[in-house]
């Protein structure tokens, strides 16, 4: 389950946008090794290069310099077609805003990665149905995304990310648009997926979520400033302090952290009162 051969190995990867005076360095010689079965939380302020790093690992982008090995294969300079195919077979994306296609049913959405792989319809719908059952949405298969709640949408998105049996699941603020109860359900689900042996890479602003991770990476100005293994269920003090000190000017962010920390009480998948949901949505948008 947790064989320690490196799944992802990034060596001195840089990403530079623009030319001359307008040059922006999004990533500066970042090196990182991810082993199979890890749950990594990436933290850092906006513009620290989290998303760029994720896009490179997720094969949506290519590094300007440096090497990227995925399953011992160098993928830093591969062509777009190969990149897309590797992405299809190895990466499962979970987005902050769910990104399900509105015109397709939940089942069709989940089956879509398999469609691009060329799996026959009956087989892929069955696989999608199984994946939905795993995230507890078996009875919502034929709903349209507009008919589901945020939490349900994100669970469907997780099913879509899982349906291909990816090497790594990349989650970009998976709870950013969710109320606290839904967020908790989604995080528990991610945690379960991790426990089944999947590798999860999560970007988050919320330090309380690092408790689900067994490794925390903190980024600042395009570099990894901090990389520490922690026990699952623990929020490292340093992370919290670092975040709080950097974010002390941001009142709303602080509030978010506090409310997130308070939501540790156990509870079933219930909808919270509307007022609270609205508030959390607002917060999500500001980010």
């Amino acid at each position: 389950m947790t064989s320690k051969s490196p799944l992802i190995s990034i060596e001195e990867v840089s990403k530079v946008y623009g030319f001359g005076d307008a040059t922006t360095v999004a990533l500066e010689e970042v090196s990182l090794t991810i082993n199979k079965g890890e749950f990594i939380a990436i933290m850092g302020p906006s513009g620290s290069g989290k998303t760029t790093l994720m896009n490179i690992i997720g094969l949506l982008d290519r590094p300007t310099h440096g090497n990227y090995k995925l399953n011992d294969k160098n993928v830093a300079r591969i062509g777009k077609i190969k990149q897309a195919k590797l992405r299809r077979d190895n990466i499962g994306f979970i987005f902050q805003s769910f990104n399900l296609l509105p015109r397709l049913t939940v089942l069709e959405n989940v089956a879509l990665p398999l469609a691009y792989k060329g799996v026959m319809q009956t087989r892929r719908l069955k696989a999608a149905s199984n994946a939905l059952a795993e995230v507890g949405l078996k009875d919502r298969e034929y709903y349209l995304p507009s008919q589901l709640s945020g939490g349900q949408l994100q669970r469907a998105a997780i099913a879509r990310a899982l349906v291909n049996g990816p090497s790594i699941i990349i989650a970009d603020e998976p709870t950013g648009n969710l109320d606290s109860v839904s967020a908790r359900v989604v995080m528990e689900l991610l945690s379960d997926i991790h426990k089944l042996g999947n590798t999860v890479l999560m970007v988050t602003h919320n330090p309380s979520l690092t408790r689900y991770a067994d490794r925390i990476i903190y980024m600042l100005d395009g570099s990894i400033v901090y990389d520490e293994a922690t026990a699952v269920g623990e929020i490292p003090k340093r992370v919290q302090n670092a975040v709080n000190s950097l974010r002390s000017s941001d009142e709303e962010e602080k509030l978010a952290n506090v409310s997130a920390l308070m939501e540790t009480m156990p509870g079933p998948d219930k909808e919270k009162p509307k007022a609270k949901k609205k508030k959390s949505k607002k917060r999500g948008k500001k980010k």
Binding site: D61, A84, K85, R88, F95, N99, R103, L112, Y116
Partner: protein, 405 residues
């Protein structure tokens, strides 16, 4: 994967029904008008062919004037035709009768004069002087009464068409009544059956009053010979007979061939040539409508691609290759125009049905034209979908994911 693209295309078309319909409109109009017009043309062609079939196989028609080949619609050919108009004389008629291989000759002479009945003038019809073999040669039956025979050649009798019966006499069977031509009374002794359309003999019997040639000469005035219908002894001898007549008449006309001899085959060739011109013209119009429709589709596809940037980003993130995105959008555009073509054909069929019910036209829609129209519209869709689809395929997934859904 193709079926996949097809399903995706259908679902996105269903997702924007009204817009899709508007987009298809150019193609719908193009296809429906082309199919309708070609069907009408095909129908007329069939009608002409069947009419030509009705006349005797041994029939050859001689007309004054040299007919130029129908090449294109231009005024020059018209002028040439007018300039070459010649005339046929009674001598031509008599000489033709003596040509070897000729069984009989029927003259069609226009008699000058005004028809009156009950002091009411009738100006629309023709008075035609002819002989007894006309009905059998044109295979035209009489509804009532009998055609005149040789013994009646000098008598003032008339056979009339259905239009004359209705308009002049205001009754179906005016047999025994008399009408007045140049002061002489002619007794109606027969009424033709409705003639469905003019034969290649170019004679509208519905609106004609037929009188014996000799009787016409007795009442004075001029008789202009418009046509001579020649019946050959057998259909095989037609070309020989035509040659013989040509040499005889050329002698009569001071060595000039200022007349036209036409058999059934040539008549069909002429109509087909005319329809070929019309078909070419329609093809040009169709081509333009397909270009316009295609540009409309391209325009909408560009809008769709911009609008669905986020969707493209999502699809790429979950593993769609550029080629797959390209295929999806080309298919969408192809399906859009294919459906447009299909609806266009349906419209054309409806229009044809209306033509059948309300007019004498009998449009014939062949499978060929339907396949060509639908195929061409699909092709238009593919071509006009190429650029927008390429734009979609080239989109950067990261930037696309950031755009609004």
């Amino acid at each position: 994967m193709i079926t996949e693209y097809f399903k995706m295309a259908l679902s996105s078309i269903r997702g924007a029904k009204f817009r899709s319909l508007l987009t298809m409109f150019g193609i719908i109009i193009g296809v429906s008008s082309v199919v309708t017009i070609v069907s009408l043309g095909e129908g007329v062609k069939h009608q002409v062919a069947s009419k030509v079939d009705e006349v005797s196989d041994s029939l050859v028609v001689i007309r004054p004037g040299k007919k130029t080949e129908a090449k294109a619609f231009n005024l020059d050919s018209l002028r040439t035709f007018i300039g070459n108009t010649g005339s046929l004389s009674e001598k031509d008629w008599r000489d033709t009768e003596k040509v070897t291989g000729v069984k009989s000759v029927v003259p069609i002479g226009i008699v000058s004069g005004i028809v009156t009945y009950d002091s009411q003038e009738y100006l629309d019809g023709n008075i035609i002087a002819t002989t007894k073999d006309l009905p059998s040669l044109l295979n035209q039956k009489l509804a009532f009464g009998e055609f005149f025979d040789e013994s009646q050649y000098t008598r003032n009798v008339a056979i009339i068409g259905v239009d004359i019966a209705e308009k002049l006499f205001q009754e179906n069977v005016p047999i025994g009544k008399s009408l007045n031509i140049r002061g002489k009374d002619f007794i109606v002794q027969g009424v033709f059956e409705q003639q469905k359309s003019a034969t290649f003999a170019e004679l509208n019997l519905n609106n004609s009053i037929l009188i014996p040639y000799d009787a016409a000469r007795q009442i004075g005035g001029t008789i202009q010979l418009m046509q001579l219908y020649v019946e050959a002894e057998s259909p095989e001898k037609i070309s020989d007979v035509a040659k013989n007549i040509t040499s005889t008449l050329t002698k009569n006309h001071a060595g000039q061939e200022d007349f036209t001899i036409q058999g059934k085959e040539e008549a069909l060739k002429t109509t087909n040539a005319v329809f070929y011109q019309i078909t070419l013209f329609i093809a040009g119009v169709a081509f333009i409508s397909f270009i316009v429709g295609g540009i409309g589709i391209m325009n909408i596809m560009f809008a769709t691609v911009s609008e669905r940037t986020r969707e493209i980003g999502i699809r790429k993130a979950i593993g769609a290759t550029n080629a797959q995105i390209l295929g999806q959008f080309i298919m969408e555009s192809a399906v859009l125009s294919f459906v447009g073509g299909f609806i266009g054909v349906l419209f054309a069929l409806i229009a044809n049905a209306i033509f059948r019910v309300t007019t004498d036209l009998q449009p014939v829609t062949t499978l060929n034209i339907v396949l060509i129209a639908v195929g061409l519209s699909s092709f238009t869709g593919i071509v006009s979908g190429l650029l927008p689809a390429a734009k979609a395929a080239r989109k950067d997934p990261i930037a696309s994911l950031r755009s609004e859904l």
